[in-house]
Amino acid sequence: MIPLEILALTLPLLGAILPWLLRKQHTLRNGCTVLLSLALLATVIQLLPAALQGESSSEDNSVVLGSIAPGLDFMLEVDALGLIFALVASSLWILNSIYSIGYMYRLYGADFEGQERYWSCFALAILAAMGIAFSGNLLTLFLFYELMTFSTWPLITHHRSAASKRSGRIYLFILVGSSTLLLLTAIVWTWVLTGTVRFEAGGILADSASPTQISLLILLFFFGTAKTAIFPLHQWLPNAMVAPTPVSALLHAVAVVKAGVFTVLKLSTMIIGPAAMQASWGAEVVAWFAAGTILLTSVIALSKQELKARLAYSTIGQLNYIVLGAAVAFPAALQGGALHIAMHAYGKITLFFAAGAIYVVSQKTRVDQLDGIGRRMPWTMTAFFIGTISTLGLPPMGGTWSKWLLCVGMIEAHQWAFLGTLLISTLLGLGYLLPIPIRAFFAKENAAAAVKGYEDHGEAPWACRIPLIVSALACLVLFFWPGIYAQLAAMIEGSAP
């Protein structure tokens, strides 16, 4: 029988090939894509029981794909942290596929240009996410990390306009530049120092590198992973907003940025090791950069009138919560960071789905145009409200738990400044996100803000509305039953005090 990890890579691969085979049979292709995404979720769920029973990092459950040299393989291995990411990516792929159909069909017609490329690259990005989640060593992770960068570039430049070309350049420049110059250096250096690139509980560096080397490596690793959008490498994310909204959702919630924060958590727990992280000045520097990013982007978000840009800066802030958790590396902070991958994903994808739904029916992109829109689009704006609360980490939404754990982690580490950062950024978040749903429901509609030809609109098409309702419900459910995610987060390396 095929190992499930391989199956989890094969299904998206099929999804990447299918659009080229079924160029004319759109319905069949859509059906197959949704079915594949369901099958992928089922596969990931199949992997859960074994991981939950514990001892996930033993030698025997790794799968070797190919070998470069003795001790240097492309290999897959399942652990708790990887399962969190895989569950998030596979479950949201289902929603995003359905949403893509609704969004792209409504805006560009059933036969939109470059659709084979669109669906194919989308599936490739999911393939990369699965590969990153289940990678058993740094080399495999790097392979899929770069695959993700290159497979999402055609999505970002989907419109082929001058603006999308520019964004594509910035995207590649920052992501490829940082990963080849910094991340690859760090990987090879680790290989030279320790003779291995395996992920191991407690890290592999502590015994074979001096404190200064560890600190330098931490800097190389954390700034090499620019997918976390840490300042000053955050510019690619707001610029990628020119892409169609489902792509933004893929970037912000499903795959790309989550791959970044997943990577830093993995590095912190299984390469450098929590103990070494806590002792090093490199981690301290990273933590200050992350905290600075959180505050800076919250302030920038306040000033942005473009809805998607505001959401983008909010994402950067939220991501750096996780980077902060990974850098502080106290048990609760790591656990909170891992949980935040999931919680932020469901909240943020709801917000992006809603922003896209609004654009589809009304062509509105600016926050100040949205007064009173809640009465026309009650479902969408209710979901937006739920997503807002969850993103800010307030009860009764799922985001509460991860933020709670992160705060506990800062207290454990006696990092009062960082605790303050988290709280202040929540307040700022209230300032830039909450007014949107409130004004949507309670302010008077401004007729002058309507886009010509779209004055009298109703709700978004069902294919757009269902995914955002489901993801909003997920936020709610995860507050009362954080269940599987909380269990997995409690199991990641270094989360036990």
């Binding site: 190919g66 770069e146 250096t185 090879v188």
Partner: protein, 501 residues
């Protein structure tokens, strides 16, 4: 091993030279049509099979020594094939074979009809010269074969004149510079002969190692370094290459980029490590700094220039300048891992750049030129060729999953272990800059709209496409499953650094 070849096993080294030589001499009688091409395919195919078998023999039984005419070395001419020569011979023959298979149509379009017979003859003789350099164990013999390959290559480049008149100028420039390079090598060999009284390479190495060298050897080394740098187009002596590669017939450009510079690099490895005296298997510091500095500058300069070129051929040629830099870098440092990376990159770059130049040739075949102004929106009109360029470009960058990554990984490890972190950073910087020039093509091919008045362009026939995809596909395959090749390269590197074969 193929059974019917068993009786010939002892003669593989000489067969590798004789087969293309005979093929070249006989080629004109097959005329101008497809038969001449079929003959070239047959000849290069036989040479490839011999090269494969020879690699297997060397792998299992160690280096082969073949006394020409039965005169034992060091009195007669010795052909000597160790692991490194067997690898390079396989690269030259196999890529040469695939390029030959591909180029039936493009040669018919680009070469004047009355030159078609001689063309295949010269083509095979060029391959003969290159293979001869690889298998010979005699320094003067190597010089003679170098001249054979060089003279034929000048002719091949000049045949690009029907498409681009500049081919004559660039062939002439290359002739002058190539001759200077060859003379320098000849002077060096003469000096070494005067000093030691022998021309056999292993004999030379032993005697030079035993003597204290002195001024004669140092002068010889200087002449050799300059001559070889010219031959392998190492910065700052690279300037003949972009002109020659971009004006030569496209099939010739593919052949040369995959084989000729590689053979130059092979000669450098041979002379620096197994002929000239080494310090416990390594180069002396001034040599390391000179070669390493030139290589570093080549990476930097080549990558920058590549991103500023107006046509795909020129872009690829300048990218070759940079890639030669990578290989020489590993060669200069002389650490086992770096040398492994060098040998790997020598193989992988031949695959990738050969495939890329074939693509450039395909664009010429369809569009008449491969200027970027003509390539706007080509990604949708010629999807298979464009996709091959993108994959090859990813290999140039060294994206994980491509073979370019494997060689750079070993190179980086070697540079770090040999305490050259600055050179390691240069390698990484070069990769990032490769992303810039690769993406120049990607943006033009996929994001630019097709010009309004552009005529209908269709993808080329399958018989031109599959050799391209064979080269590019194998470079990807070797990026995912490189273990056997890495082992091979590591053994070759170990043999080279151990001094002698």
């Amino acid at each position: 091993m193929l059974n019917f070849l068993q009786p010939w096993a002892d003669h593989f080294p000489v067969l590798l030279v004789l087969i293309p030589l005979l093929g070249g001499v006989l080629a004109p009688i097959f005329g101008r049509g497809s038969r001449g091409w079929a003959w070239a395919v047959l000849t290069t195919g036989c040479a490839t099979i011999i090269a494969i078998e020879m690699l297997l023999v060397v792998r299992s039984g160690g280096a082969i020594s073949y006394p020409l005419g039965g005169w034992p070395a060091p009195f007669g001419i010795e052909l000597r094939v160790d692991l490194l020569s067997a690898i390079v011979a396989l690269v030259v023959t196999s890529v040469g074979w695939i390029v030959t298979i591909h180029s039936r149509r493009s040669v018919q379009v680009e070469i004047p009809r009355d030159r078609l017979g001689p063309f295949w003859s010269v083509w095979l003789l060029a391959i003969t010269g290159l293979l001869g350099i690889i298998v010979t164990g005699d320094a003067f013999n190597m010089y003679v074969l170098l001249e054979i390959s060089a003279l034929t290559i000048y002719g091949l480049i000049a045949m690009g004149r029907s498409r681009d008149r500049k081919a004559l100028v660039s062939a002439f420039n290359y002739l002058i510079l190539g001759s200077i390079g060859a003379s320098f090598i000849l002077i060096a060999i003469g000096l070494l002969y005067a000093h030691t009284g022998t021309l056999n390479m292993s004999d030379l190495h032993q005697r030079l190692q035993a003597s204290d060298g002195g001024a004669t050897v140092m002068t010889a080394r200087a002449f050799l370094l300059v001559g070889l740098s010219l031959k392998m187009a190492l910065f700052p002596l690279h300037f003949w290459m972009p002109a020659a590669y971009s004006t030569a017939p496209s099939a010739v450009a593919s052949l040369l980029s995959a084989t000729a510079t590689k053979v130059g690099i092979y000669m450098a490895m041979r002379f620096l490590y197994t002929v000239l005296p080494t310090e416990g298997g390594a180069l002396t510091d001034p040599n390391v700094w000179l070669l390493g500095g030139c290589a570093g500058a080549a990476i930097f300069y080549g990558s920058i220039q590549a991103s500023r070129q107006p046509s795909l051929s020129l872009l690829l040629a300048y990218s070759s300048v940079a890639q030669v830099g990578y290989i020489v870098l590993g060669l200069a440092v002389g650490h086992i891992d770096a040398m492994t990376g060098s040998i790997l990159h020598l193989m992988f770059h031949a695959l990738m750049k050969g495939g890329l130049f074939l693509c450039a040739g395909i664009f010429i075949y369809r569009l008449g030129s491969n200027d970027f102004t003509q390539l706007a929106g080509i990604g949708r009109r010629m999807p298979w060729t464009s996709a091959a360029v993108v994959l090859g470009g990813l290999g140039m960058i060294g994206v994980p999953g491509t073979s370019g990554f494997i060689s750079k990984l070993h190179l980086l490890r070697g540079l770090l272990l040999a305490d050259h972190p600055i050179l390691a950073m240069l390698v990484l910087l070069g990769s990032a800059m490769a992303a810039i020039y690769t993406w120049k093509f990607v943006e033009i091919a996929y994001l630019k709209p097709v010009a309004e008045d552009a005529e209908e362009i269709r993808e080329v026939p399958f018989d031109m496409l599959w050799p391209v995809w064979l080269l590019i596909g194998s470079s990807i395959w070797l990026g995912l499953n490189p273990a056997p090749v890495v082992e091979l390269a590591a053994d070759a590197a170990r043999a080279l650094l151990g001094g002698g074969g």
